[in-house]
């Protein structure tokens, strides 16, 4: 199983029936592929849609896209709305869970995911509102980038929000923040606790019962 599939399948296990969920671009989008058939989950696209589903070949509508501008379809029961309502849903605490990518997450769960000063300044888009307003923030990312840890003592990149994230799922581990402290909860199949600690710059507490991701 490749890294992205491990991450997406594990995060899909966080979904609950009836949730309103916003998925970011990249690995987060893949989570939708692994929704258990027994659950009805609402996916929001922040450009103004609840009931987003994958595009159906041959049925693309030019006025029906996701937040990345790609064609999608709308499930029966879907609804559309303007950007003010879309962010009212997000900031107002109506979104149960958001899944986002990250550049860095630190020991306290703070997130940097929108710019690298002087190098990459794409704009924050909806990320700051999502992290500030969603009930639960789950990060989907590779554990390291070019060999460098992305889970760091303290974010050196500009923060997305001061609100800490709730869960980080990587290709190596699941990390939570009980009591505000980064804690190793699960490892990926075939990955040892020592390997996770080695690939992590932040000091990680290790749960008494570290389990293996059940994929």
């Amino acid at each position: 199983m490749d890294a992205q599939t491990i991450i997406a399948k594990r995060i899909a296990q966080e979904l609950r029936d009836g949730m309103l969920v916003n998925l970011g671009i990249g690995i987060p989008t893949l989570v939708a592929k692994y929704v258990p058939a027994s659950l009805h989950v609402y996916f929001q696209s922040e450009n103004g849609l609840i009931g987003t589903a994958g595009a159906v070949e041959g049925l693309h509508h030019p006025l029906l896209t996701d937040a990345g501008g790609r064609p999608v379809s709308a499930l029966p029961g879907a609804c559309t709305f303007d950007s003010a309502m879309s962010f009212g849903l997000i900031r107002g605490g109506h979104v149960d869970m958001t899944v986002l990518g990250a550049l860095q997450v630190d020991a306290a769960g703070q997130l940097a995911n929108w710019m690298v000063p002087g190098k990459m300044v794409p704009g924050m888009g909806g990320a700051m509102d999502l992290v500030t307003g969603a009930k639960r923030v789950v990060i989907a990312m590779q554990h390291t980038a070019k060999g460098q840890p992305k889970i760091v003592k303290q974010c050196s990149l500009p923060l997305t929000s001061v609100r800490p994230v709730d869960l980080v799922v990587t290709d190596l581990a699941v990390i939570g923040f009980p009591g505000g402290r980064a804690t190793l909860l699960e490892t990926a199949p075939g990955v040892t606790v020592a390997q996770v600690l080695e690939a992590t710059q932040a000091e990680l507490a290790v749960s008494e019962r570290v389990s293996t991701m059940a994929l």
């Binding site: 030019p62 006025l63 501008g69 962010f87 704009g123 924050m124 700051m128």
Partner: protein, 215 residues
């Protein structure tokens, strides 16, 4: 009758004007108005919009044509020309969280001086802004935004100017239609009065000044 020829509508917009433009990655952007702004060689515009789309699409065409002096947007990451002009200091870019941007525009159109939002507290977005605590929670005071012109893309307009938007092309359109001194609409279809049922009107006719004729 509010219909006007495309070239006459765009001739109303002087160099240096502030212009709000609907659309999300080009979906819901009035392309004929954008093309005519380029054709008439407008300069020094301030463009307020969700994003800068891509080169060759929507607002991306204005960026490539050198028509824009400043853009206020939430995301520019998919338009490398905006990035290039920003780094070369040919284009001023003011990045605003998406939910904050739409709410500032809403405030401008709804007669409010601004809004209080938790988004951006403790990040670079807070710089230069007033922080206000209410019931122990910190908020940023974000001021209202208005523009000289709003360029609105609708799916249906009747001859009075009642508007209806389709699918995810609604996005910023109904909000900017409230927040500019002059509101110019490009509609996919112009229909007789009464075709859009009262309950389906999303922007009321009195706020619309001009509808681009299809002739």
């Amino acid at each position: 009758m509010k219909t006007i020829l495309l070239k006459d509508a765009v001739a109303l917009i002087p160099d240096g004007a502030s212009v709000m433009i609907g659309g999300f990655m080009g979906v819901g952007t009035p392309e004929r108005l954008v093309d005519e702004l380029v054709r008439q060689g407008k300069r020094n515009l301030t463009v307020i919009a969700n994003d800068n789309a891509l080169p060759g699409i929507g607002i991306g065409k204005l960026i490539s044509a050198g028509a824009v002096k400043k853009t206020i947007a939430s995301h520019i990451g998919l338009n490398p020309e905006t990035q290039k002009k920003m780094l070369a200091r040919e284009l001023e870019v003011d990045l605003v969280p998406q939910g904050t941007l739409i709410e500032r525009i809403r405030a401008g159109g709804y007669g409010l001086g601004g809004v209080l939002t938790p988004t951006g507290v403790g990040t670079v977005v807070e710089k230069g802004k007033q922080r206000i605590e209410l019931d122990g929670k910190p908020y940023l005071l974000e001021t209202a935004l208005r523009a000289d012109f709003a360029l609105v893309d609708a799916f249906l307009a009747d001859y009075l100017g009642n508007l209806y938007y389709a699918l995810t092309a609604r996005n910023f359109n109904p909000v900017i239609a409230m927040a500019a001194d002059t509101v110019i609409v490009e509609a996919e279809n112009i229909v007789p009065i009464g075709v859009i049922a009262p309950d389906h009107v999303m922007t009321p006719a009195p706020v619309v000044d001009y509808i681009i004729s299809h002739a």
